[in-house]
């Protein structure tokens, strides 16, 4: 891109893509903002005109709002914690030379290819069902009363299901990071008198810092908007209603597009607050 000519040609070439992407992002955002200031009830009279900030006030003063925010944060935090910790451990395990390494790696990645709806249904019916589920059988085998997972421990169950789905992603990214570690560094640390646990803390973990940051940031983006897992398991009941799910209920179950749009704007704000905190905590790892 050295000359004036090639620079302007480059702009011309990139133009369509930039316009398309901008439209893709801006149109839904602007429509959300537009509807959030209107009373728009598709089945009950349609567009009933501008109502200012009423939707915003109603959404935030609803008794379901704060529980939904905390459910969202618990799910995001819980899944991040489980996937990062287990991901690091699994990555170290998979990095060891062993028989059948290729097959094992494919098996570990497999859950990521299962659709969220399908995996949630499998968990709900095959594992967590209080009568026929595998967990129920296991509990009964030890003489205990089977747990009604999705009603008694709904948030924990959803965290478990979603963690199972995202663990492969974390493992994969962390495994590639571990493989890029210079083995001479570990040998140097060994010569310097660091036993394996210290080599993990002082050499491997700092080396993984950047990869962990990437995992946390990417997963947060997707976890803030998980929906299918809740829809097919609890249907938002038993305290498992996240902000995303609440918006869904407002728009589709209550048929109130305006109120839902206001919720959407709150979701954007929440995502930005989370992003701000995350960048404060882990963002410095991204600097070279």
């Amino acid at each position: 891109m050295a000359t004036q000519h090639s620079r302007s040609a480059a702009r011309l070439m990139m133009g369509p893509a930039v316009v398309l992407l901008l439209g893709w992002m801006l149109v839904p955002l602007l429509m959300t903002l537009y509807f959030s200031f209107k009373s728009y009830l598709p089945l009950r009279g349609g567009d009933l005109g501008w109502i200012g900030f009423d939707n915003y006030v109603r959404f935030v003063t609803s008794s379901a709002f704060w529980p939904s925010v905390s459910a969202t944060l618990i799910i995001v935090g819980g899944v991040l914690l489980i996937t990062v910790v287990l991901g690091v451990l699994l990555a170290i395990l998979l990095d060891q030379p062993m028989w059948g390494q290729g097959i094992v790696r494919i098996l570990v990645i497999a859950p990521f290819f299962v659709m969220p709806t399908v995996s949630a249904l499998v968990w709900k019916n095959m594992f967590m069902d209080p009568v026929n589920g595998l967990f129920a059988h296991l509990w009964k085998f030890f003489g205990a009363q089977p747990v009604e997972w999705l009603s008694d421990a709904s948030l924990f169950s959803i965290v478990l299901i979603v963690s199972w789905q995202w663990l492969p992603f974390a493992t994969l990214i962390l495994l590639t990071a571990i493989q890029s570690l210079d083995s001479e560094q570990l040998e140097a640390a060994e010569m310097d008198g660091a036993p394996p646990p210290k080599r993990f803390v002082f050499i491997i973990l700092p080396h993984l810092g950047r990869a962990i940051t990437i995992v946390v940031l990417i997963q947060t983006i997707f976890l803030l908007s998980i929906f299918a897992e809740i829809f097919v398991t609890t249907g938002g009941a038993f305290g498992s209603r996240t902000l995303t799910y609440l918006i869904f209920q407002r728009v589709l179950e209550s048929q109130n597009v305006g109120l839902g749009s206001a919720g959407g704007v709150y979701a954007i704000i929440l995502a930005n607050i989370v992003a701000l905190f995350l960048m404060r905590i882990v963002g410095k790892n991204l600097d070279a």
Partner: protein
């Protein structure tokens, strides 16, 4: 402190024996260089001594104590790696202090030793930088600093200069030699560069395919190479090997004459030839001579500026007392 003794040490990777039974004693305070072509097992040998690889059989003794099954950290050896292996997320200070921290020395003692090492190695101004912000030579010095602070029984260097440019290599070579003189600690140094071996070593160990070809001081190896391999490996430019009728005149299978032991004369010499490439360095002049009828190319080194050019016909006179004779096994004849 720092005598290392290897007795009948072997190493196999699967069915491949990389080190056949090998005996070697490295004396206290000696600067020993393992030299050989790539793949000759010199780095493996160093890693066996360090304890980073287990030996297949035999015994390693350090200061009279059996160290064969002692883990690397307990052998009191410090190693400088080819890639330096600095910890990229730690400052230079923390890098150097790392072995002390692992040994749980108190903070004051750690600081003292780090400062000391830094001043020896001219790193005082860089203590708070990260390795990524240092030049190659500085990183090399940090790696050496990390080795020094442990006050080890011996230092192990694994081709430490091969990632540096030529000018820096000469400088670091000197610094490491000076460090050895000052600390008087045993050092084992692995290189494939015979110039490094010649300039730094008290004792050179020439290796080929895991075998020790010859052990001796640099000049011993230069003056009396035990076989053709050592003769060709030590000395730069390489020794000329001459087979056939010319060697038979000296009742040998092969004779060897170093380039610096052949004099160039204008006119008739013992051998005649045509100058191919002439490299004029000022201090020396190297001639590659063709058409001598005794070997494809002869390399000749003349001191100072000698004004022969490409295509000149010249005479060559080898110094009779500097002709090395080798028998049909490639071994030196007296």
């Amino acid at each position: 402190m720092g005598q290392i003794k290897l007795e009948k040490v072997t190493k196999s990777f699967g069915d491949v024996e990389v080190i056949p039974p090998l005996d070697l004693t490295i004396g206290e305070g000696e600067f020993t260089v393992f030299v050989g072509p790539s793949g000759c097992g010199k780095s493996t040998l160093l890693r066996l001594i360090a304890g980073l690889e287990d030996i297949s059989s035999g015994q390693i003794t350090i200061d009279g104590q059996d160290a064969t099954n002692v883990p690397p950290a307990k052998r009191r050896l410090a190693m400088v790696f080819q890639s330096y292996a600095l910890y990229p997320h730690m400052s230079v200070r923390k890098n150097i202090a790392f072995p002390l921290r692992m040994a749980k020395l108190d903070q004051a003692e750690q600081d003292k030793r780090v400062e000391q090492a830094a001043s020896v190695l001219n790193l005082t101004d860089y203590l708070d930088r990260r390795p990524g912000q240092l030049s190659g030579g500085q990183r090399q010095r940090v790696a050496i600093g990390r080795a020094i602070v442990r006050e080890p029984a011996a230092f192990l260097f694994d081709e430490p200069l091969s990632n540096l440019d030529a000018a820096l290599r000469v400088g670091m070579r000197l610094e490491i030699s000076e460090l050895h003189k000052r600390l008087a600690t045993t050092m084992i140094y692995v290189t494939h560069d015979q110039v490094e071996a010649m300039t730094m070593a008290d004792k050179i160990v020439v290796l080929r395919a895991g075998h020790i070809e010859q052990v001796g001081s640099p000049l011993e190896l230069y003056r009396t190479p035990r076989n053709l391999f050592v003769a060709g490996f030590i000395g730069s430019p390489k020794m000329n090997h001459i087979d056939g009728a010319e060697a038979a005149k000296h009742s040998a299978k092969t004779i060897g004459v170093r380039p610096e032991h052949i004099d160039v004369v204008d006119g008739e010499g013992v051998w005649q030839g045509t100058v191919g490439v002439a490299e004029h360095l000022g201090s020396d002049t190297f001639f590659h001579i063709h058409g001598t009828g005794i070997a494809e190319t002869l390399t000749v080194r003349a001191t100072g500026e000698v004004d022969f050019r490409h295509g000149d016909r010249i005479g060559l006179v080898p110094r009779a007392d500097q002709i090395h004779r080798f028998d049909d096994q490639g071994l030196r004849m007296p």
